[in-house]
């Protein structure tokens, strides 16, 4: 053996020592100028503004266009239909759950997802493929501003995003105007499901001067009895609908106990504008007010 072996051993030891040092070096991220924390608590950092963005929620698509980052979009869901330019962006499926392969095939550098169980899993899969993801909450009016701001940081459109966010924040902090009308949002009839205080629609109604008779229920939606709706006697029944056809249950005898159903006082709110929180919230409030004033 002797000296030759000794040197080989030494070399081997040095090599072994070097490996962890290299791995350490690989772990340390390069200095990032664009960093946010998403709503799943994860740090998301980019070295340069995102150039190829995929949005997996119609609201995020709207937001991206509203902050001037619409030209960066390389993928959207089939539901993303606003603004009209969005339709030209290729679709990667309906997003429920996200089609990871279709998303990856577009080679994005950022994927924006709504924070939900299946989406968290999809985000994990995308991260494993080396694709950066950001998970954002978007259920309430208050969440529009923070979402816009973070998207602004990640796409390098900070200024437009901040001004949009300020507008939405000021809307969110507006005190409720005195309500002239009362309404109930009915989402389903059997069993009856209504919208409560924890939801975007309830907020829109308050901003438009209509009181949700189920504002005392804290959760976004709840099952109630027809009797309860009848007892609270709302002036209007609001439904998310693109047409002005009264819902099927309106003809059923048991629903006639509700005055608004008997008198056919329905508010039909198109899903595209009212169904999801988005940058057009001010327009939604105005439209809401208009429909209230115009109703028979």
């Amino acid at each position: 053996m002797g000296r030759w072996a000794h040197r080989t051993h030494l070399a081997g030891l040095l090599l072994l020592a070097a490996v962890p040092a290299c791995r350490e070096a690989g772990r340390a991220p390069p200095p990032a100028s664009l960093a946010v924390t998403d709503d799943a608590g994860r740090p998301v950092a980019l070295t340069a503004p995102a150039r190829r963005v995929i949005s997996l929620l119609p609201s995020f698509t709207e937001l991206l266009f509203a902050i001037g980052a619409g030209d960066r979009l390389v993928g959207r869901t089939t539901w993303c239909d606003y603004p009209p330019e969005a339709v030209r962006v290729p679709s990667v499926g309906d997003g429920m759950p996200p089609n990871v392969e279709a998303v990856a095939a577009r080679h994005p550098d950022l994927v924006v997802l709504y924070r939900s169980g299946p989406n968290i899993m999809a985000a994990g899969q995308l991260e494993r493929l080396g694709i950066k993801t950001v998970l954002l909450d978007l259920n309430l009016l208050e969440q529009l501003g923070p979402a816009a701001r973070r998207l602004g940081v990640l796409t390098g459109r900070r200024t437009s995003a901040d001004s949009l966010a300020r507008a939405m924040d000021s809307l969110a902090s507006q005190p409720p105007i005195p309500s002239t009308w009362s309404l109930v949002f009915i989402v389903w009839d059997n069993p009856p499901i209504v919208i409560g205080a924890g939801s975007y629609l309830d907020r829109l109604a308050a901003l438009a001067g209509a009181r949700n008779v189920f504002h005392d229920i804290g959760s976004p939606s709840a099952q109630v009895a027809i009797e309860t709706i009848a007892a609270r006697d709302p002036d209007f029944v609001a439904v998310l609908s693109d047409s002005a056809v009264p819902p099927r249950y309106a003809g059923r005898p048991e629903w006639r106990a509700v005055r608004a159903v008997r008198a056919r006082r329905f508010l039909f709110l198109p899903g595209q504008l009212f169904g999801r929180p988005g940058p057009r919230v001010a327009e939604a409030v105005r439209e809401f007010r208009r429909r209230l004033d115009q109703a028979p």
């Binding site: 069993p191 009797e227 007892a231 059923r252």
Partner: protein, 313 residues
């Protein structure tokens, strides 16, 4: 004496169902209130009828499969009804009766399939195969249902599941009328089968030696009980536990002879479900609980109490 108590309990329960509710209807206005006449009364009556149907159905099925743990929904009916309901919503079938009709057709189809399976061992219905077949058909239907829901992905379908969990929010006098016209036939068949079912408890062969036409009996009882359950599901979704626990409660108090069990199970089931529905409407007002949860919460302590009394005596 016990019968009198049962009748009184029925009246009290119905009265409570009519007088209590999330809307505040003062006593003097009750008789004229549309909320009472159009909403509470049909709902209370429907809950009573459905509970009665489930109770009777449970007694009959437990006698048929000679297993005190049988529940009407063990025979695949709930899976079939769920599939029917989901199909109605996914394909947006028209008409206010689309959902209950589709659920009914689904339940009856499941029943027919299980029946066919039950005959596989020969010309005679084998109760053991009925149970296994019911579980298999139910699971199969549930799988197809889940497939449709995952592929169609409309939010309405999630609400279909809410319907399936059971409830009387859609009750109206029309629904009550449908049940009143439909139920007497299967109920009548089961009433006529009361004595042969007593004999069946001894075993199929001994029952035949004591004069029961066991072959016809099994078919008729299975069909009648399934039709009752299918109607109950179509109208109120899947409300488990009533068909399982009411026969036991009644047996504890009235013994095992079916001539007494059938009427008392009808009343007891009706009382249980009407009371459960009243609680479901009032306990977390303005919200509502699914009725199936309330029946379970009500049924178990009552059963435990009666069981203790029985074992002690």
């Amino acid at each position: 004496m016990k019968y009198v108590l049962l009748a009184v309990a029925a009246v009290v329960t119905l009265a409570a169902a009519v007088l209590l509710g999330p809307a505040d209807v003062p006593l003097r206005d009750v008789l004229g209130s549309p909320i009472v006449w159009q909403l509470r009364l049909p709902r209370a009556v429907l809950a009573f009828l459905v509970g009665g149907a489930l109770g009777v159905s449970g007694v009959a099925l437990q006698a048929l499969v000679r297993n005190p743990l049988a529940d009407p929904f063990l025979l695949g009916l709930s899976g079939g009804a769920g599939l029917g309901a989901v199909v109605a919503i996914a394909f947006d079938l028209p008409g206010p009766w689309a959902l209950p009709l589709a659920a009914f057709v689904g339940a009856v189809s499941a029943m027919a399939l299980v029946y066919r399976l039950g005959l596989m061992g020969g010309a005679e219905l084998d109760p053991r195969i009925l149970l296994l077949g019911g579980v298999a058909v139910g699971a199969f239907a549930a799988a197809i249902t889940t497939a449709i829901v995952s592929l169609a992905q409309a939010t309405e379908l999630r609400n279909a599941f809410l319907w399936l969990w059971g409830g009387f929010s859609g009750a109206s006098w029309t629904t009550v009328l449908v049940i009143l016209v439909y139920a007497p036939l299967p109920l009548g068949v089961l009433a006529a089968a009361a004595r042969p079912l007593d004999l069946l408890a001894l075993g199929e062969e001994p029952a035949q030696y004591l004069g029961a036409d066991v072959r016809r009996l099994k078919r008729l009882v299975y069909l009648a009980a399934s039709l009752l359950t299918a109607a109950a599901v179509a109208v109120a979704g899947v409300i488990g536990f009533v068909g399982l626990i009411v026969p036991h409660l009644c047996r504890l108090v009235w013994g095992r002879l079916h001539r007494a069990l059938f009427p008392t199970a009808f009343l007891a089931g009706g009382i249980l479900l009407a009371a459960a529905d009243t609680l479901a409407r009032t306990v977390v007002a303005p919200r509502e609980l699914p009725v199936g949860i309330v029946t379970a919460l009500l049924g178990v302590p009552v059963f435990a109490f009666l069981l203790r009394r029985w074992t002690v005596s």
